[in-house]
């Protein structure tokens, strides 16, 4: 059953609000989302402290391994993020059609542009009533692809290029991604770009979280609970 009708208990004097629900995000996709959340948090914190290390540890060097642990956390989270992302691409192929939204933006469809324009007006407070969406709204989809997907691929590629510097010539990371370093100039440039990439992702996260909360409150469908339980709830029965 994909359609579910539920009724919220109304207090006397309040309107009875009907919520229709559609199953949008399948379990592997939700798991990927939250794994990525944890990875991004770990990567940003550990990455920041690789670039600007914590104050010096007192005592003998043999008593500590702080930078070692920070770098381990960064590399481990990077691996998990990358593998999860590969899994996400696989799921885009085998999962339901909502799983493909992240990678395929229908720029060739006129309707998509119209809805994007409408959505832009909604965010600029020029529209009073938002549209209903089962998947992403057009602007959300564009941001997901243009900022998140492109950004995360950039971070994975540059990240493993830098990781390959440590593992050295002949390691898989160096063989696969080592070409990135001369392409960007030298190691220092890749470090700088990777560092900027972190802020790009942080900016994405800020916008993503804000819009998710805002739309959860103001739009006509659920957002946050959808990424937990998979069901998209609609707050009214009015068309579109």
């Amino acid at each position: 059953m994909t359609e579910q009708v539920s009724q919220t208990l109304a207090q006397p004097g309040e309107q009875v609000r009907r919520q229709t629900a559609v199953y949008v995000y399948e379990a592997p996709l939700r798991l990927w989302h939250w794994v990525t959340v944890l990875c991004v948090i770990t990567l940003c914190i550990s990455g920041y402290f690789i670039g600007s290390p914590l104050p010096t540890m007192p005592g003998e060097a043999s008593d500590h391994f702080l930078m070692g642990y920070i770098r381990f956390a960064h590399f481990a989270a990077g691996y998990v993020l990358a593998i999860a992302f590969v899994g996400r691409i696989y799921w885009a192929i085998v999962g339901n059609h909502h799983a493909r939204e992240l990678f395929l933006v229908p720029l060739h469809k006129k309707r998509w542009w119209q809805e994007a324009y409408h959505e832009l007006r909604w965010y600029l407070f020029l529209e009073k009533v938002p549209k209903k969406y089962i998947g992403h709204n057009p602007l959300g989809q564009l941001a997901m692809f243009g900022i998140f997907v492109v950004g995360i691929i950039f971070m994975i590629v540059t990240g493993f290029a830098l990781y390959g510097e440590g593992t050295g010539a002949g390691s898989w990371a160096n063989n696969w991604f080592g070409w990135v370093i001369p392409m960007m100039g030298q190691s220092q440039d890749v470090h700088t770009w990777h560092h900027l990439g972190m802020w790009y992702i942080i900016t994405f996260v800020m916008i993503h979280v804000y819009v998710a909360i805002r739309e959860d409150i103001m739009s006509r469908q659920s957002l946050i609970s959808t990424m937990v339980g998979g069901w998209r709830m609609f707050k009214d029965d009015k068309p579109d």
């Binding site: 600007s52 914590l54 540890m57 407070f125 050295g168």
Partner: protein, 361 residues
């Protein structure tokens, strides 16, 4: 005597004993990272192979590569390799000068067509038809092109020839370019550094002369045996890095204790060179050992990567001069402020909408 002597004959002529010769072979094998079984192989090659002539040209440069080269740790390496080279052409080190020297260049190029190795120190400026560097009355650019035409292989000595170095740093008024921009049809082996380490230079030359082929190169054309790892990977201060023990400012207690120089801008983690293993001046020391961070002199464009004393590089694009964190905080701050403003307007909207609804009800 045959037309071209072997290396061994040259050495013996220079008064080097066979014992010393074999020592040189073992040392070279060790320096090249080869096993002990390679020492006799090197000896055999040097005894039987005819000597390969080397032409050493100088473009826009400061001669620090030559200075480094003649300070090679093992005296035999210096004497033997250098004398083999100076037999042909190196305008800085050779005895002859002027027209006589230039005549030798022409003669070698003619006589050993396709056999000689061209070693280039410095680089050609392209601006004003190459008029910023004149050798023998002609632009160095012409000499370089002519000499490379019939060379077997080309060695790019130092950061100038490999990357461009200081004369190619912004704004590069003479339009100096690394030699691979001019020589496109020959294998080029890059030996970057400002200057490169003497043992690295002699090691590369010895390898090429002995085995008659280029050493294995990495993606950027540097010999893997010397440029395969970063300074950081073999740094003796690495345990302090892993422990999180850093020099916070010059002359602090951590500096006296010899902690990691990462926070004061050491470029060891981004620099490929052999300084932390081979070291300098007969293995005496290297910058980090002397208490100063690596400045990354063997890396492409190291002059243009901001201060030598900052960990994070300044970014110069679009007229800004901030590092990644400063830019990132500004962007994130701006977006945060925009979000806050948008959220405030949204909240007001939501509140007024509710009021309207309640009024309707």
């Amino acid at each position: 005597m045959s037309d071209i002597e072997t290396f061994y004959e040259v050495m013996r002529r220079q008064g080097i004993t066979r014992r010393s010769f074999l020592k040189f072979c073992s040392l070279t094998a060790a320096a090249l990272g080869l096993g002990p079984t390679f020492a006799p192989q090197i000896a055999n090659a040097m005894e039987t192979k005819p000597r390969t002539p080397v032409l050493w040209l100088h473009g826009l440069e400061c001669t620090c590569c030559s200075e480094s080269f003649i300070r090679s740790a093992h005296p035999l390496v210096k004497d033997v390799v250098l004398s083999m080279i100076s037999l042909d052409y190196d305008d800085t080190l050779m005895a002859s000068a002027g027209h006589h020297a230039e005549a030798i260049l022409e003669e070698t190029m003619e006589k050993y067509k396709g056999e000689y190795i061209l070693a280039v120190e410095g680089n050609p400026p392209l601006n004003e038809d190459g008029m910023f560097c004149i050798v023998g009355g002609k632009p160095f650019l012409d000499q370089l092109k002519r000499a490379s035409k019939n060379a077997k292989a080309v060695i790019a000595w130092g950061s100038c020839a490999s990357w461009g170095c200081v004369q190619a740093a912004r704004p590069n008024p003479t339009q100096a370019v690394p030699i691979h921009k001019v020589i496109t049809d020959k294998p080029i082996i890059k030996v970057p550094g400002c200057p490169p380490i003497a043992e690295v230079m002699t090691g590369v030359i010895t390898y090429m002369l002995t085995f008659g082929k280029l050493p294995e190169l990495d993606r950027q054309g540097r010999p893997k045996m010397f440029y395969g790892q970063r300074i950081h990977d073999k740094c003796y201060r690495r345990p302090h890095f892993d422990a999180g023990q850093f020099v916070e400012s010059w002359d602090d207690d951590a500096a006296r204790k010899g902690y990691c120089l990462y926070k004061v801008g050491c470029k060891g983690p981004t620099t490929y060179n052999a300084c932390s293993t081979v070291r300098w001046n007969e293995g005496t020391s290297f910058p980090i050992q002397a208490g100063h961070g690596c400045i990354g002199c063997s890396e492409d464009g190291f002059w243009d990567k901001g201060s030598f004393y900052n960990r994070l590089t300044d970014i110069h694009q679009f007229g800004i001069e901030q590092n990644a964190d400063e830019i990132g905080t500004a962007v994130a701050g701006g977006v945060g402020a925009a979000i806050a403003a948008h959220a405030a307007v949204s909240a007001i909207r939501q509140a007024t909408r509710k009021d309207e609804k309640e009024e309707q009800a």
